[in-house]
């Protein structure tokens, strides 16, 4: 069984959490927003890590779940008056869950590259639907809406400031992380890792591999949808660009950069990627993907374990 988490681990977790809590108090507005955004992309990357890192299935369709989360939140915020935060989350999660169940049913019958291509194609189907169904989705322009208030029914209600938005996102992401970490260490998570290591043997032992894979895709899609809801709330819009497969590709990039199968790694990868983008876009303006892409290729070749794996190995030496 897994060893008890060490004191060092929880100390590290507490320090990083404390830093992230304090971040908006000391950072200027631009960087405050930036850190919030890292957290949201980090949650998306973490959700895909369940598939990529733990189950060994590389999803190229996470933009679909993320996007459906966004559009689900948009539906709640546009149709229900006054806009309600929790309803937006529920709608977004339901939207992502329905799509995830659909995708999971078909895609989990396939393996390796075929799984990747199927998820990619499903994401593109939803992209085309969203892009062309202008009457409902706003088509190319997407949807804009007002941000809901931060409220607990019967207790309090106040408009989001950039600080409270950051703390709210941080709370959601941190809780999701703890939950996912717990799930990945549960017997269920162990089976997923067994599938990654040796699928025929896992099946031979008697596990219903397809069912486990399906649940993994749905779980992953659900958290990707949650990230989509958070992004919608932060930016007050939903756009088809976020359903396009380049976003799915970026999510895989986050995973590879940070280190797959660690949950924290993808978040670090998202932070690294966004920082690179920020840094390079000062010199290369919108062509920042040229240097970032080259760094990514170099990392795939020379650093297959990602930043975290690389650091771990260096520290162990």
């Amino acid at each position: 069984m897994t060893p008890r988490p060490s004191v060092a681990y929880w100390t590290g977790f507490a320090i990083i959490l404390a830093l992230l809590i304090a971040a908006p108090l000391v950072l200027p507005e631009f960087w405050r927003r930036f850190v919030t955004e890292i957290l949201i992309w980090g949650l998306l990357a973490m959700s895909s890590d369940i598939l990529i890192g733990y189950t060994g299935m590389v999803s190229f369709g996470h933009s679909a779940f993320f996007g459906l989360g966004m559009y689900g939140a948009a539906a709640a915020l546009l149709t229900v008056r006054p806009p309600n935060l929790w309803l937006a989350i529920v709608y977004g999660l339901v939207g992502a869950a329905v799509i995830a169940a659909f995708v999971a049913y078909f895609s989990t019958r396939l393996r390796d590259i075929y799984f990747s291509i199927t998820t990619l194609v499903f994401a593109q189907i939803f992209y085309v639907i969203i892009f062309t169904w202008t009457a409902v989705t706003g088509g190319e322009n997407g949807l804009t809406f007002r941000r809901p208030e931060l409220a607990l029914p019967g207790l309090f209600s106040m408009p989001f400031t950039s600080n409270t938005l950051h703390w709210f996102v941080l709370a959601v992401v941190a809780l999701s992380y703890l939950l996912l970490r717990r799930i990945m260490r549960s017997p269920f998570g162990m089976v997923l890792q067994a599938i990654r290591e040796n699928e025929p043997r896992t099946r031979a032992i008697g596990y219903q591999v397809e069912r486990y894979k399906m649940v993994a895709v749905m779980l992953s899609g659900l958290f990707a949808g949650l990230a989509g809801v958070l992004y919608a709330i932060q930016n007050k819009f939903a756009a088809p660009d976020f359903v396009f497969f380049l976003i799915s590709g970026e999510v895989v990039v986050f995973n590879v950069m940070g280190g797959m199968g660690t949950l924290v790694g993808p978040v670090a990868g998202a932070a690294f990627f966004l920082l690179l983008r920020e840094g390079f876009s000062r010199f290369f303006t919108e062509y920042y993907l040229i240097p970032v892409g080259l760094i990514f290729i170099a990392m795939v070749i020379f650093m297959p374990q990602g930043l975290l794996g690389f650091l771990k190995r260096r520290l162990n030496q």
């Binding site: 078909f106 590259i113 040229i290």
Partner: protein
């Protein structure tokens, strides 16, 4: 009803023309997959760069056919450089890493094109502008020539694979990499050659297709997806299957766009792909494996 039949026949011609272009792209992709298990995400970008090299050469020489040759050779060489620098180090690793590396490559190439050539679409002038009467349409001869030229290039590839020394080596390497190298075939060089051939064919289709749509930095995205679909539907690594699947899927899309917009017609090919994967994952146009 009369008009509908005319439309269906016109769409059949259109579908075959796009199908041949697609076959030209997809045969490179399937060859690369078949021989080295590389899913080349950057294939659409090679197509796009081919079109741009065509634009530049055309502007300087005013000769379309020269542009076609220069573009294939240049992008073919670029393909060789790419294979040696980024894919050769990944040989023997999880095929997944090649998806990642070529995805990174596609980001780099696409943004490089945006940076060099700007967001405004360029136009390639077709080499001749004649028309003939196809029902109520004046149908350009050029489109027919594209289909024939694509067929000729693919036919050339087939002859090369069948009779050329390197062609035979390529087929041997596809069948069994280890055995091939044991027989003295220079497998790494064969890999580079195949990637270069695939890149050159993608570039050729970029130049041929340029006059129909205009050339911009994102033109590869649609095609690479379609080419993936074709490669899977035709059976991964199967050249003949890919060509049939290209025509099959292009025809379906052409017919579908009689009723829905072309943007929505692509869903038809997505559905074909998913059904293929579910019911016949080895591909539609290959003999049933035993």
């Amino acid at each position: 009803v009369e008009l509908l039949w005319d439309q269906i026949l016109i769409q059949t011609v259109n579908g075959i023309v796009t199908g041949m272009i697609l076959a030209l792209i997809a045969s490179g992709l399937t060859l690369i997959f078949g021989i080295m298990d590389v899913v080349n995400f950057a294939h659409g970008e090679l197509f796009m760069l081919g079109a741009y090299v065509g634009v530049i050469t055309l502007a300087n020489t005013h000769n379309f056919w020269l542009a076609l040759v220069v573009s294939s050779v240049t992008v073919g060489l670029l393909g060789a450089v790419i294979q040696v620098s980024t894919l050769r180090p990944l040989v023997g690793r999880d095929p997944l890493t090649t998806i990642l590396a070529t995805f990174g490559l596609s980001l780099v190439l696409q943004n490089y094109a945006l940076w060099q050539f700007g967001p405004v679409a360029r136009k390639i002038q077709e080499p001749f502008t004649g028309h003939f009467k196809l029902f109520y349409l004046e149908y350009p001869w050029y489109r027919i020539v594209i289909a024939l030229l694509s067929a000729a290039i693919i036919g050339g590839l087939w002859l090369f694979m069948k009779y050329g020394k390197y062609g035979v080596w390529i087929r041997a390497t596809t069948q069994d990499r280890l055995m091939a190298s044991a027989m003295g075939i220079p497998v790494p060089r064969i890999h580079t050659l195949v990637f270069a051939i695939g890149a050159g064919m993608a570039a050729a289709s970029g130049v041929l297709f340029g006059p129909l749509v205009g050339v911009n930095h994102a033109m590869g995205l649609d095609w690479v997806l379609k080419a993936f679909i074709v490669v899977v539907v035709g059976g991964m690594g199967n050249l003949g299957g890919s060509i049939l699947a290209s025509i099959f899927i292009s025809l379906l899309e052409a017919y579908a766009s009689l009723w829905v917009s072309p943007a929505q017609a692509i869903i038809v090919s997505f559905v074909v792909l998913i059904l293929t994967l579910l019911f016949r994952p080895t591909g539609l146009f290959v003999p049933t494996p035993k």
